[in-house]
């Protein structure tokens, strides 16, 4: 342990001794994480796990929490089996890990209704779970899926981008994202194109895009699709002519590594950025780079905050999971130093937080990464909160 943090550690230790002497003898609390670690999107779950572990370590509670991790392979059936197994076999009371909306929809509604547990989503935020299907035992520490699209719609208005071309894969998340953009965008939509899911070559669509001659393009292409689209968009020479906008899912540091310089100058909506000027964020970013020798992504930031939120709630209940209502109430207070600064849960247990517009740039070490361009929303509440019956 480095010398400078020794004093802090001593203080933390003293605090622990003073407040939790009785609980000290108790077993560590089990937290189950069924997440996506394999397939092309496996790095998302990997980063959530790394962020989660870092937060436990930095808070000095690594020995108070036992983290059980399993890979869902992006398969809803596998995810259901593994989560139920953790709850029944291992007696886990707090579950987390869902990365993709389809996995979240298959597992979470059943889990929180059939078992006496708490579910905290570190990434997926599908609309039904934020609206009519909200539940007092379900929390989301990341975002509601539409948030990053909404902020870009507003940004397009502010930047006077009047004619915008919209593109997404032809599936639910793609349509939701386009819907989120249009909810705030007031200009003219000159094209709305839905492509095949997991399409690899976008030459034809990009030719149509150029012919439409828009001021900007808003695209929702997560994962491998985003790599392909951005590379081909730049290869077609459109990067100087058309402003490129998207949600943060296409712009995490792993994808930017694979895209390279082609993404420089693109704008994307996010609730977090590595340069966000918050003390907790500096601790997180520096700690992450030191521990894992790579730039953190928003998934790592979300994993970090998920762990912080859970630990904060556990500290309020003296590390007890016996009374789930008490734990959920403690959770709802969101009494932790978020890497995003101000953070609160709304009536539907989804975040109320600021949403930013980030710009892709090359930093002084030559690494292509994100920085904040402007703040889009203050304390943004998602569009489905009103449909949720909880108070």
């Amino acid at each position: 342990m480095p010398m400078k943090s020794a004093a802090a550690a001593a203080a933390a230790a003293a605090l622990l001794l003073a407040t939790a002497a009785a609980a000290q003898a108790a077993d560590p609390v089990k937290v189950g994480m069924v997440t996506t670690l394999s397939t092309g999107a496996g790095y998302l779950g990997d980063h959530v796990r790394k962020g989660f572990e870092l937060a436990l370590e930095q808070a000095g509670v690594a020995d108070r929490v036992t983290l059980l991790v399993e890979d869902d392979g992006l398969d809803p059936g596998t995810a259901t089996q593994l989560t139920e197994r953790m709850v029944e076999r291992d007696g886990v009371k707090i579950m987390t890990g869902a990365i993709f909306s389809n996995v979240a929809m298959a597992t979470i509604p059943k889990l929180v209704r059939n078992y006496d547990i708490l579910y905290v989503s570190p990434n997926a935020g599908p609309a039904p779970l934020a609206g009519k299907g909200c539940h007092p035992r379900y929390f989301n520490t990341a975002y509601q899926n539409d948030n990053f699209a909404e902020v870009m719609g507003k940004y397009a208005n502010e930047q006077n981008l009047k004619r915008v071309y919209l593109m997404a894969p032809n599936y639910q998340a793609g349509k939701d994202s386009i819907g989120g953009f249009k909810r705030f965008f007031k200009g003219e939509v000159v094209g709305e194109v839905y492509t095949k899911l997991n399409q690899t070559d976008y030459a034809a669509e990009i030719a149509e895009l150029r012919a439409a001659n828009p001021d900007a393009v808003y695209f929702f292409y997560p994962g491998g699709m985003g790599i392909n689209f951005m590379k081909q968009f730049a290869q077609a020479g459109l990067a100087d002519k058309v402003v490129a906008l998207g949600p943060a899912f296409s712009f995490d540091d792993t994808l930017l590594d694979a895209v390279g310089d082609a993404a420089i100058g693109f704008f994307n909506g996010s609730q977090w950025s590595p340069d966000l000027d918050v003390a907790a964020n500096k601790t997180f970013v520096d700690g992450y780079k030191a521990k894992f020798s790579e730039y953190p992504t928003l998934y790592a930031a979300q994993g970090y905050d998920t762990a912080q939120a859970i630990v904060a709630a556990l500290q309020k209940t003296d590390w007890s999971t016996a009374d789930m209502d008490a734990l959920a109430a403690a959770m709802k207070q969101a009494d932790f130093p978020s890497v995003r600064g101000e953070f609160a849960f709304g009536n539907n247990n989804h975040p109320i937080q600021d949403i930013y517009v980030r710009e892709v740039f090359k930093d002084d070490t030559g690494n292509v990464t994100n920085r904040i361009a402007t703040k889009g929303f203050d304390n943004h509440v998602d569009a489905y909160a009103a449909e949720c019956e909880m108070k």
């Binding site: 670690l37 394999s38 397939t39 092309g40 496996g42 790095y43 990997d46 032809n170 194109v193 839905y194 492509t195 095949k196 899911l197 997991n198 690899t200 070559d201 030459a203 034809a204 669509e205 030719a207 149509e208 012919a211 994962g223 491998g224 699709m225 790599i227 392909n228 590379k231 081909q232 290869q235 077609a236 020479g237 792993t254 994808l255 590594d257 694979a258 895209v259 390279g260």
Partner: protein, 294 residues
Amino acid sequence: MLLFLEQLLNGVQLSVTLLLMASGLTLVFGIMNLLNLAHGSLFMVGAYVAAWTTGVSGSWLLGLVAGAAAAFVTGIVIELVVMRRLYARDHLDQVLATFGLILFFNELVRLLWGIRPMRLDVPEALGGFVEIVPGAPYPLYRLAVIAAGAAVMLALAWLVQGTRVGMRIRAGSVDREMIGALGVDIGRLYTLVFALGALLAGLAGVLAGPFLAIQSGMGEPILILAFVVVVIGGIGSLKGAVAGSLLVGITDTLGRVYLPKITDAGPALSSMLIFLVMAVVLAVFPTGLYGRKS
């Protein structure tokens, strides 16, 4: 009109990638009667090795050579270890064994290079644009891919039609026992044909690398399309592979662009389109466009 021509060009470029995949597949299928599901893995090996070599050496050309060579060598190895034991088996055994190879290779690249997608950029010298017609700049690299693919296919046609080895290959596809009786070393010939197919698949992987996310499992979507091409063209027919890949590449590209303009169901329809084309072709020509009648 201008845009239509550009879309046609895009269709041809997709066709070229498919043709490189399909020609190896159809040769192996037609001559050795081997249904090789692991052909997409060779595509993936080519792309991965090229991306890695380019990243380490900084030379795109070296990456190209390394990628194609790696696929060639991998082809020889799996032919010697696995495939030659499968020629006499029925298609079902081949499906199971080559499915096993897919699992192996997809996990192997993940072990070697991690779960992060890799990157292969367009070579700097080909990064520019050509204005084929004024006002419609077309990426130089895509034109180069079309040219390279066409050149490789011409070379392959020459090899098969105009050389001694090619004569044996053609003879082998017609009557296996006969060329054995004529004293040709069938084992060596088969290894050569298989490795040639692997080389073409690896080359396709390298050339398409800059358009794609280089990641585990990237070979399977293109494998399915290549099989569609082979079946539409007729198994074992190079001519059929050319016709099939042009049909699939252009239909897919034009369908994607124009169907959504006609109907709201366009995106779903365009996803189904090439399979619909295949079903219609097979319903009319049960052994493909250029296939031998059974």
